[in-house]
Amino acid sequence: MSLFFSNKNTDLQSVLHIIFPLFQKYKIRLFTGFFALVCVDLIQLVIPKFIKHGVDSLAQKSATSTSLLWLGIIIISAAACVVLLRFWWRLLIIGFSRILEKDIRDRLFSHIVKMDQPFFERWKTGDLMAHASNDLNAIQMACGMGLVAAVDALVLTSVGIGFMVSISPRLTLFALMPMPLLAICTRILSARLHTRFNLVQEQFALITEFARTTLSSIQLIQAYTLEKMQKQGFARLGKKYVKSNLNVAVIQGALFPASTLIGNIGMLLVLYNGGILVMTEVITIGEFVAFITYMYMLIWPMMAVGWVANIIQRGMTSLRRIYRLLNEQPIVIGGTGTFPANQISLHFSCRHLSFCYPETQRKILTDISLEIEPGHLAITGRTGSGKSTLCKLLLRMYPVERGCLLCNQIDVNDLAVNEIRKYIAYLPQETTLFSETIAHNIAFGKPGASRLEIEEAARAAAIHEEILQLPEGYATLIGERGVRLSGGQRQRLALARALVCKRSLLIIDDGLNAIDVETEQQVLQNLVSSKNYQSIIIVSHRINVLQLADNIIILDQGEVAAQGNHSQLQEHPFYRAMVEKQQTDA
């Protein structure tokens, strides 16, 4: 059992503290459940007593048909009790494990939405998804069936052995001789089964991935007549898969017959030694038969021991992972500061702002000093020059050092994280929409937005007409089960979502690059002239977008290479190169 506690890094008590309060909260439910479970076990152990009584009375020829009828009635009523009690423990205990699962699941989600970007870089979506499904399943299994089987096995074994001892201690010894072997056997085999089974799953994933990539590039495969190569690759994976399945089968093939084998060896020992005991009249034949019935009963808990140990161990490992996840803390921690009540415009000051992503060395931004005043600002520069990073810092997605970034003369570290975001609408590079209706998606920016506000935002984003052309207009479902939108449509929808909340600063991080140039220009012009926004910050490569801005910043390798408006920048080599390239191409 020392394997349960193999990982000393996180101490057991605090790990168990995740589930402990729940056990406390539901203690009456659990107590009743386990009480019912123990009762079931006891009744089941008593039934063989009645059988023994019946067989004995038959052997001694003292049985009458009335006494036998009564016996039958007693057995059936005992069985009826078992049915009732079983119903209750299942509902109470397994039900509890499901409640526990939900509770942890909810806590996990609440925790995750509080985390910052550095966290999401360390924990990929796939990992988090896996935790939320596999680990929670493992914990649920351990706290449900795992606990039940543990208690069940414990009670059945101890009482069963007690009864057997009361019939004949000597015979009990013989009966139990092979049992530890069974427990060890299942323990070892099922642990190995687990690892081998994981291998099968991996192979299966490989096959799936191979098929998926091949079929999604089918045109290329056929154009290059690579069918044969792919067939060979697939066949190789298939062979491996068959082999790893056989490895599992070898263990499975041994595991289940092994329990029968060892059970039967015990039976064999009992038959021989018990037979002799009956012959020498140490025990009665009825006792002998009852003994055999108890033996059958012990096979299951013995098998269960190995199984339970595995389930609980897996549950503990998962619980530990969940614990680690729940103990993660965001690095971006704001103060409690807020802006004055009728604050509407944001004025950022960067003072020698440098930044590199957590756990990397490369500086993305170096020593940036910059005033971002209300107005229309454009940022441009090569891929990787730090444009997006700058936007993300303004949005407080990553930590910044004290004194390097001020907002309205207050250090951002002193402001509550949400305080700044309240005033910013954001359009990221990668558009993410939700699988809901279009109206819902737009109103995401402002829950409870009226239909009028939604349509107004859609108009401003130049998507209104297209929405009306969809089968169900604003009620059209998008995403996997709904309508598939083009990249440009998605971006304009995301823009509408940002516009509907009418916040004073709009940040567009290259989020309109799938829209054609003319539409983009028109949308932006309308935004600027509408005066709805104190500030617009836009990251773009397109010159005609940059032209519109009051101020243009050129970033190069994390530094501000130049700033000024379109005409001022004409003399800057970067900007000039851009214009010149246009001319030579023409």
């Binding site: 019946g54 038959l58 049985a63 009458t64 048909s65 036998l68 016996l71 009635i73 005992a78 069985a79 078992v82 049915v83 079983r86 299942r90 509902l91 039900g95 939900k102 909810d106 989600f109 939405v113 988090l128 998804m129 096959i207 799936t208 098929a211 079929l215 590039s217 045109q219 056929q222 154009a223 007549t225 690579l226 792919q230 067939k231 898969y241 399945n245 056989l246 599992v248 089968a249 093939g253 017959p257 029968t260 084998l261 039967n264 039976m267 064999l268 038959l271 037979g275 009956v278 012959m279 034949i285 949005l395 997605m397 939700f434 699988s435 490569h541 397109r542 851009m578 246009q582 023409a586």
Partner: protein
């Protein structure tokens, strides 16, 4: 928890479909020996495990029970013999069981592997008409989950079906042999148990389906929230998301509790039947002993057999739903295997006539649409001389790529013919045709191996040829920039190549195959400036002396081609050299001017 059968859109197979069974069985023929041995082992195991209680009964009746007439040493001797027999049987059950499991797994997996390979190979022969309509996800499901489902049938079902049915049958024979009336009484339990378990598994399947649906909802929501986490946080919608998630988890909990309740109701019932049967045996069987119709040992044996009796019944009903879903999967797999490509390939070896492939290409009155109502190409006439380089220019959806699709014969034109060297492309075997056309596509297929392996693919390695290509096109510098040159393992040494690098790689790949006709479908997404320059250079170098097409998205790359063809709405609107077209008031000139506005950031 048990799997009550994977099923797609709730579809259940028809177990009574004889044709389907026959077809499944044809796949078993190769492994007939293994399967027959497994069945024989089934028989052996069943007989052996049924003999065990019988032996015990004989031991009790003849030797252990005090009322025998034998003396003690004879009784001991007899018991000893029985013990030896018992031991042998136990050994047989174990070895038989082990061998059977492994044997069946081997046979089952091999058969399924065969089905999978066959299906995969078949899918690869299907044409673009087919792939146009099918979703990749569904095809992958056929290859993975559906095959897996069928496999379930071989291992768990076929064995247990045989084992359980045999066991039930054997138990009945023994029971009737021992005491007919008591056995008859036990028979009552069979329909009862069957009805109960079938009824149960039907409801259980429904509950599981609901749970699975809810899991999908839950995971979908979680995945979406995680990808959109920055939006949720910036718009400060954490609370709303939490509430929604809690609603989903509550629903999930409700569905799970329903399932727990169902199991709580039904699971104890089988044991109740078991106990009832025991009570009946004691009461009625006891009466039979009093009436001297039954021996004590037989009664004990009856009791043991009853224990063996209920377990297979429960198993059988569970297997039923697995068989059902396996049949549904088999049906879907066979349906896919029966799909044949619409493009008819021809075989030269059968015809004897072989046509040379050269660079002269002729599009003659081509009409084509991916579906019948909307034509994409509306009467294309075009002659391209061997060695000529041609650029296709036009808006998205104008039909540029479609022309290439027809040339490489992914589709056949609805009207008109495409000829290479005076021969209709339909008269070339597909493999021959496509081997002569090197297409560099936007969709770039890179597999996790070395760059070298990604270049040569299925061709033999020819270092000199590769070096010549790299030098000629100037792409040696691209290779040199990779951490380990040609030996760089993609996915290990470098995480992934950039769009530009991928395009360069696939360019080398196409040239290595030494195509007669070269086609470049430029990447739409902007590639980095450096790669773009290299590509421009390589294109110019490799187009020399080769019939070549370029589908241009950035017009700066195509000025050097012999002829620019502007396509609009499926019709060729103008053609000529860059200078010719720029000199007139052409659509091309408008394109060029417009294109300038969205120039990427220069270096």
């Amino acid at each position: 928890m048990r799997n009550y059968g994977y099923s797609e859109e709730g579809h259940q197979g028809n177990i009574k479909d004889v044709h389907l069974w026959r077809r499944i069985l044809t796949y078993c023929r190769q492994h007939a020996k293994a399967l027959w041995s497994a069945i024989a082992l089934s028989l052996l195991i069943t007989v052996a495990s049924l003999m065990l209680p019988k032996l015990m009964q004989v031991a009790i009746d003849n030797f252990i029970a005090p009322q025998t007439s034998l003396d003690l040493s004879q009784r001991l001797e007899g018991l000893r013999n029985i013990i030896i027999g018992y031991g042998i049987l136990v050994g047989i059950v174990f070895c038989g069981g082990f061998t059977q499991v492994v044997l069946l797994e081997w046979a089952g997996q091999s058969i399924m592997d065969h089905v999978r390979q066959k299906l995969f190979a078949h899918i690869l022969t299907l044409d673009m008409y087919f792939f146009h309509e099918q979703r990749v996800g569904q095809l992958v499901t056929r290859l993975t989950n559906d095959v897996q489902n069928m496999h379930e049938m071989f291992t768990s079902v076929m064995v247990t079906l045989f084992n359980d049915v045999l066991k039930l049958f054997g138990i009945f024979c023994l029971l009737y042999y021992m005491n007919g009336r008591l056995a008859l009484l036990m028979t009552v339990f069979i329909p009862l148990a069957f009805w109960l378990t079938f009824y149960f598994s039907r409801i259980a399947r429904e509950k599981f389906r609901k749970i699975r649906t809810q899991v999908a909802v839950l995971n979908g929501f979680l995945a979406e929230s995680l990808t959109a986490i920055n939006i949720i946080q910036v718009f400060n919608r954490q609370q709303t998301s939490r509430q929604k998630y809690f609603e989903h988890t509550s629903e999930y909990l409700k569905k799970n509790i329903e399932q727990v309740r169902l199991f709580a109701k039904f699971m104890p019932l089988t044991d109740f039947m078991n106990s009832t049967a025991v009570a009946l045996i004691l009461w009625y069987g006891g009466g039979e002993i009093i009436r001297s119709q039954l021996s004590l040992g037989e009664l004990v044996a009856f009791l043991s057999y009853m224990r063996l009796f209920f377990q297979p019944l429960r198993e059988l009903s569970q297997k039923y739903s697995i068989v059902q879903s396996a049949m549904a999967s088999a049906e879907r797999i066979f349906q896919l295997l029966d799909t044949s490509p619409r493009l008819k390939d021809i075989d030269w070896s059968a015809q004897g006539a072989q046509h040379p492939i050269d660079g002269d290409i002729q599009f003659d009155g081509i009409w084509f649409g991916y579906n019948q109502e909307v034509p994409v190409l509306k009467g294309i006439d075009l002659n391209i001389k061997s060695g000529e380089s041609v650029a296709l220019v036009g808006a998205t959806g104008s039909g540029k790529s479609t022309m290439i699709h027809l040339l490489a014969r992914f589709y056949d034109p609805d009207q008109g013919t495409i000829r290479i060297q005076e021969t209709d492309v339909r008269d070339f075997p597909l493999k021959e045709l496509r081997n002569h056309i090197g297409i560099i596509m936007q969709d770039i297929f890179i597999f996790p191996d070395t760059v070298l392996a990604n270049i040569i693919l299925d061709q033999p390695l020819d270092q000199d040829k590769l070096r010549a290509i790299l030098n000629q096109t100037g792409l040696q510098s691209f290779i040199d920039k990779l951490p380990k040159g040609l030996e760089t393992v993609i996915g290990e040494d470098v995480k992934d190549l950039s769009v530009g690098e991928k395009q360069l790689l696939s360019f080398v790949r196409a040239l290595y195959r030494d195509p007669t006709i070269l086609v470049l479908d430029e990447a739409t997404s902007s590639i980095d400036v450096e790669s773009e320059k290299m590509l421009e250079h390589a294109v110019a170098a490799s187009f020399r002396g080769r019939t070549s097409f370029i589908i241009a998205h950035r017009l700066s790359t195509i000025r050097k081609v012999d002829r620019i063809i502007v396509i609009d709405n499926g019709i060729i609107v103008e053609q000529g050299t860059h200078d010719q077209l720029m000199a007139s008031d052409s659509v091309y000139r408008k394109f060029v001017n417009f294109d300038l506005q969205k120039q990427p950031f220069p270096s």
